[in-house]
């Protein structure tokens, strides 16, 4: 099993011999990884290498794709993710996700954040107010929006919308935050803000990010996994992977020789 060297944090996500098929296409091949808790793990690799597929297995987003077949094991905090007992709604409460394009609901800023907690049964106005404030503060958006929480989420800029989506994910108090190319539609300043936010959040949450931007992985993450053709080629501390990778294919990819 590939395990990042010198990782101090406790492993939270444990993936063993994972194989995933889209019909006859073998998208993930014998993937074994231990993703540590309260750290940022980045998945990198060329298009079609399986990095987003693996990310989506972590909150069972692939369930919705017809013809998907999964073998092997993924356990979060010791609980097998693909067992029949797992309630997908509860799972997604624990594993939040942020996508490439900011996707706020066509509602007010306040209602975007309150949506999840309401869905999970929180009714008290005071409690909701608190959750909205805490979540927006965690996503470093509070100061920018506190005076117009009733405005439409669409009135925000792209970068603000993405931070709103992060706040929305945090509102249901998850353990894990998945970020799928979360900054690729943003300008450099907004990107930097999201990266700084990720750095702040990693003390409280386990963050797994897929990025096409290798330098983002180098800047932000603690561990990096390099995928190629559905396989894990290398998994190590980010500093090691970007300064002295073990596998020649990793070196070739990060040096821009293919991809």
């Amino acid at each position: 099993m590939a395990t990042a060297t010198q990782v101090q944090a406790q492993p939270l996500i444990s993936i063993e011999k994972l194989n995933l098929f889209y019909g006859s296409f073998h998208a993930l091949k014998d993937v074994s990884l231990t993703i540590p808790e309260k750290a940022i793990t980045a998945f990198i690799g060329p298009s079609g290498c399986g990095k987003s597929t693996l990310l989506r297995t972590l909150n069972r987003m692939n369930d919705m794709i017809p013809g998907t077949r999964i073998e092997g094991s993924i356990a979060i905090g010791g609980t097998e993710l693909y067992s029949n007992e797992v309630d997908v709604e509860t799972l997604r409460k624990k594993v939040g996700m942020v996508f490439q394009q900011p996707n706020p609901f066509p509602k007010s800023i306040y209602d975007n954040i309150a949506y999840g907690p309401r869905l999970h049964g929180t009714r008290s106005k005071q409690q909701l107010d608190e959750i909205v404030e805490t979540s927006l503060k965690s996503a470093v958006l509070w100061d920018e929006v506190k005076d117009h929480l009733k405005r439409s989420a669409f009135s925000l800029s792209g970068g603000q919308q993405q931070r709103l989506c992060i706040a929305r994910a945090l509102a249901v108090n998850p353990d894990i935050l998945l970020m799928d190319e979360a900054t690729s539609a943003l300008d450099p300043i907004s990107t930097l803000k999201i990266e700084e936010l990720a750095q702040e959040l990693k003390d409280r949450y386990t963050i797994v990010m897929v990025t096409h931007n290798m330098h983002q992985a180098a800047r932000v993450s603690n561990q990096t996994v390099f995928f190629l053709n559905g396989e894990v080629v290398e998994f190590s501390d980010t500093e090691k992977l970007f300064s002295n990778p073990t596998d020649q294919r990793t070196e070739d990819y990060i040096s821009g020789r293919f991809g």
Binding site: M214, H215, A218, F242, S243, N244, P245, E251, I254, S255, G256, R257, G259
Partner: protein
Amino acid sequence: MMTTRKEFDHGLELLHNLLVEMGHFVDKALEQSMKALSETDTQLAQRIISEDTKLNQLEHDVTELGSKLIATQQPVAKDLRRILSAFKIASDLERMGDLCVNISKLVVRLDGQPLIKPLIDLPRMSAIVQTMTYESIQSFVQENVDLAYKMAADDDQVDALCAQISHELLALMMENPRNISQASILNFVARHIERIGDHATNIGESVVYLVTNSRPDLNR
């Protein structure tokens, strides 16, 4: 991405060529300064001194090009080490050029006076250092760690010759105090050649770092 890599590879090739040019320059400067010494040729010595600005310019070019490549291409892993090593190697070569200038300045100080003894060990020493300089650049060009280690091992001979020359010159000074002035000049020449050898060894260390990402001490 492939276009970027093409530009980057071209930049690395230019960087490479600049270092090779600097290596040839130092090689020639050492050869010429020893010629100036053995023939006590003040004019040649002065020419070597004035030409050193070219070497300084080449080092400047390496720094400029390397910085530009880092800023625009954001290299990682071995690519980054190629540029970091180039900075260090250029700095060593520039210092080697300065030491050749120092030898030439000593030749100027001799002011054409005949040498107190025929030069035997100094040319031998400088020949070894010249080979070391050449091999250090070759080890960089070929990214050849074995050659870097072999070259660095030759530095022991240089150190031994330097110590031997010092003893010999000390004996000459004790024998006749009138020898002191020129003997101390020759002693400095030996010391400068020995330092050039140390810089060649440093280049070997940079090559090992470039290839293996570890920094050995070849100067022991």
